[in-house]
Symmetry: C2
Subunit: 100 residues, 2 copies
């Protein structure tokens, strides 16, 4: 299995497949050379959780919201490519709702 | 790791991420209860390969074309849910280019 591995587990009843697939494409567009794979995992019970290896990077249950993509990219970057600049994702700082 | 696992390995230089992500969404829409996960795997050298476990279901190198989605779904179905009817995907038979 290619490493590092990101998992995106999403609730199928909530119809969050498209949101999960969009998130996967955002991560793979930015980290095509750094990530081994991004797996889409059908789940249930309102789950929307993003894991890097065994570490939870984002959980809708805990954080009460879907991931902010720039913040999610910074969390992935800090772990798989800490020296990598993310352009305007970095320049916009950590404000929630900043554009990606 | 959730099973059964589908891997879609795509060539990043060829910019086949969107095609791979679309294929993943087609499979997860049809087999949300039967598949454990679909992983998007960045690759190189013109690869576009779809694997179920260790079995290659489709290889652009071997077959000379991108997967026909209805045919791909039939191949997945035959392995993970052999009793499952696929509606018009089945009724259209195995003709290449049949709509999904």
């Amino acid at each position: 299995m290619p490493e590092p591995r990101v998992e995106i587990e999403y609730c199928t009843q909530c119809r969050w497949l498209l949101r999960a697939a969009w998130t996967a494409q955002e991560l793979l567009t930015t980290f095509s050379a750094e990530l081994g794979e991004v797996a889409l995992v059908p789940g249930s019970g309102g789950i929307f959780e993003i894991r890097l290896g065994s570490e939870v990077l984002w959980s809708r249950a805990t954080q009460g919201a879907f991931p902010d993509i720039p913040e999610l990219k910074r969390r992935v970057r800090d772990r798989v490519a800490p020296d990598r600049e993310l352009g305007h994702t970095d320049r916009n700082g950590r404000a929630t709702g900043a554009s990606s």
